[in-house]
């Protein structure tokens, strides 16, 4: 493998890895405030991308993406309001089973709205054949979009959780919900907000990755599995570690695919998941399972 190939694989690994990281952060946000693993997290990406694809036929691309993010945010909020809030005192397992049901309903809903066709958003800049040369490797400008948007999402969330009142209130809820409530924080709104936030970043990630990987109604579950692997790898609730873990998994997956059949690509992440669960269930970065949403390192 020469240098150009290595660069090529690295970039492609980092691209998918950053999307996994965003999915993992979505898991983390909801996990931190509620303790739920939201199985519908992968579906948020697909809902976002599909909505943007449909809207991009009538409005310019940036507006389509913006509207898609808004729509998905509303969907995320509705999921919490309609399904989760009703039984919020139930056991975690019951809540998780509900999110499984929600993911099925979203997927089947999408199947009936957008059928089985593989679709994709147009490239944000340039076309599918335009490429930028870098150290002998050729990358699509869309890769830069993916990396940029994911970086903005991570940076934005960090700032949000550190410096805004709402962000701090959410962290307070994650630390100790009862104490937060006693301080006058509207904790049930914070839970709704965490679902909306997860849905929003998911939708945005779904939109930027759509031109590269394309979008089909049932692509949510594999994404969710990888996002979960990444979240566990970084330690549940630790979003900064999730970014590192996401890039790691992305690179690992890409280099493995270069060595073996594409069909077994999915196997890489589940093997990683099982290995992590065996040896380091609290994550690579040696934090115990924190329920706090500490995005700062």
């Amino acid at each position: 493998m020469n240098l150009a190939q290595v660069v090529q694989y690295c970039l492609s690994g980092v691209t998918v890895g950053s999307v996994y990281a965003v999915v993992a952060i979505g898991f983390n946000i909801i996990y931190s405030t509620t303790g739920i693993i939201n199985f519908a997290q992968g579906e948020f990406l697909i809902v976002g991308a599909m909505t943007a694809i449909s809207l991009s036929r009538v409005v310019p691309l940036p507006i389509a993406v913006l509207l898609a993010v808004l729509v998905t945010t509303v969907v995320g909020g509705l999921v919490e309001r309609v399904f989760i809030r009703r039984v919020r005192d139930a056991s975690i397992l019951r809540l998780i089973v509900i999110t499984i049901g929600v993911s099925i309903l979203l997927r089947e809903g999408m199947l009936h709205v957008w059928d089985e066709k593989v679709r994709s958003l147009p490239y944000f800049s340039g076309t599918e054949v335009s490429s930028i040369s870098l150290l002998g490797a050729h990358i699509s400008p869309q890769v830069l979009w993916v990396l940029g948007v994911c970086a903005v999402i991570v940076a934005g969330l960090t700032l949000f959780f550190r410096f805004t009142l709402t962000g701090r209130a959410m962290r307070a809820c994650a630390d100790d919900r009862m104490a937060a409530r006693l301080c006058g924080i509207n904790d049930s709104w914070m839970v709704t907000l965490s679902f909306m936030l997860s849905a929003a970043i998911g939708a945005l990630a779904g939109c930027v990755i759509s031109p590269v990987t394309q979008t089909q109604y049932d692509m949510g579950a594999p994404l969710a599995i990888k996002g979960f692997t990444v979240a566990i790898l970084g330690g549940l609730g630790n979003s900064m570690a999730a970014v590192v873990a996401g890039l790691l998994l992305g690179l690992l997956e890409t280099f493995m695919v270069s060595q073996m059949a594409v069909a077994y690509k999915e196997a890489v992440s589940i093997v990683v998941l099982l290995l992590v669960l065996v040896f380091r269930p609290s994550g690579l970065f040696n934090r115990r399972e924190v329920s706090a949403l500490r995005t700062a390192p």
């Binding site: 399904f83 397992l93 499984i100 049901g101 089947e108 599995i225 196997a267 589940i270 998941l273």
Partner: protein, 356 residues
């Protein structure tokens, strides 16, 4: 329920099975029996999952994967053609033990393949090992980890099935031979064998039910229930909670594989549609409707809902119906629809106990 009283439902079910068969034959609607037979094999998966979810308190989203591992292992072993190696030592040895048998395929070519019995054993061993491999690390952790790990396992199996040449990729494996049990009894999907297979399937289901009921009322069953009520208390009283849960997980995977093997021989084929995540979720939904820790509820719902689905009652909303059922049950009736009011259910995973 103590003593023989707990077996009354088995007798009632057996009478019901016979009555139903006679009624269907008299009404000239014998074709329903085909779907009932298939549903019965799916019900095996559901019974296993019910033990796991209702009694061991762990959710699995990969039971379609175990079903497929069983079905595909058996299908591969009974359709692989060993004629080219007929005279090599291992095959000759297998022949002398009666592990392989010769038949002719559709085109009259000689096919030498493993017999269904050794294939069944192999399928169960493979499934058991895989379940052990997943369960060993994951069961130790509480809560949702098993659900995610098994979901991932299911997805891998799906990819492997679609990608591997020997597994027929998207076409699956067809022309799987009938499963000759003993003498004239065989698991065979031909209309000629319909009534016979109806009874074979029900016999298997009822035997498994009796075993499951015994298990639930045994030492292990009591241990599992105590884990449910309070895992730490059970642990401090000397219950090996880890081993109990692991054993239940492996057992439920084995039941899924058994269902897979029998249905594959009954249908004469198996394909990737058996392995989708939706199939796994469907089994979870059925257990939820049955009432989690309710074996009879799970079995009846397993047969009823699979039967309706196989008849195509739900049309294109097949999967959506099961998703909706799952949510509705969890939101409004976590004890299942068959719960008799006033009778306290043994314990439910979902009865307001946090797992974290």
């Amino acid at each position: 329920m103590t003593g023989p009283r707990r077996y009354w439902p088995v007798v009632a079910a057996a009478i019901l099975v016979v009555t139903l068969q006679i009624a269907l034959s008299v009404c000239d609607a014998a074709y329903y029996m085909t779907q009932i037979t298939m549903s019965a094999y799916y019900a095996l998966v559901v019974i296993g999952l019910c033990l796991l979810m209702g009694y061991a308190g762990q959710a699995s989203l990969g039971h379609a994967g175990f079903f497929a591992v069983g079905g595909y292992t058996s299908a591969v072993l009974t359709t692989c053609n060993l004629v080219a190696w007929r005279d090599t030592a291992p095959i000759a040895w297998c022949r002398s033990l009666g592990l392989v048998f010769e038949r002719q395929d559709l085109y009259g070519r000689a096919v030498l393949a493993f017999s269904p019995w050794p294939a069944l054993v192999a399928a169960l061993v493979v499934t058991g090992l895989i379940a052990l491999l997943i369960g060993l690390p994951v069961i130790r952790l509480r809560g949702h980890y098993l659900a995610m790990a098994t979901l991932g396992f299911g997805l891998i199996i799906y990819r492997i099935v679609l990608g591997a040449q020997t597994l027929g990729q998207a076409d699956g494996i067809s022309s799987v031979p009938p499963f000759r049990l003993i003498a004239a009894l065989q698991v065979n999907g031909r209309p000629l064998y319909r009534v016979q297979n109806y009874y074979i399937a029900w016999a298997v289901v009822l035997v498994v039910m009796v075993l499951a009921i015994n298990l639930v009322h045994s030492r292990i069953g009591r241990a599992l229930r105590s884990i449910h009520q309070n895992e730490d208390a059970a642990h401090s009283l000397g219950v090996n909670t880890y081993r109990c849960k692991l054993a239940t997980f492996v057992l439920s995977a084995l039941l899924a594989a058994l269902g897979g093997v029998l249905l594959t021989h009954y249908n004469g084929s198996i394909g990737p549609s058996e392995v989708t995540v939706m199939k796994s979720v469907r089994y979870v939904a059925i257990v939820a409707v049955g009432g989690m820790a309710n074996l009879w509820g799970a079995m009846l719902m397993g047969i009823l809902l699979n039967f309706l689905s196989l008849r195509g009652v739900f049309g294109t909303y097949d999967d959506a119906v099961f998703g909706a059922i799952l949510i509705a049950m969890m939101l409004f009736a976590p004890q299942g629809v068959l719960r008799i009011p006033g009778r306290r259910a043994f314990s439910s995973v979902l009865a307001g106990r946090s797992h974290d």
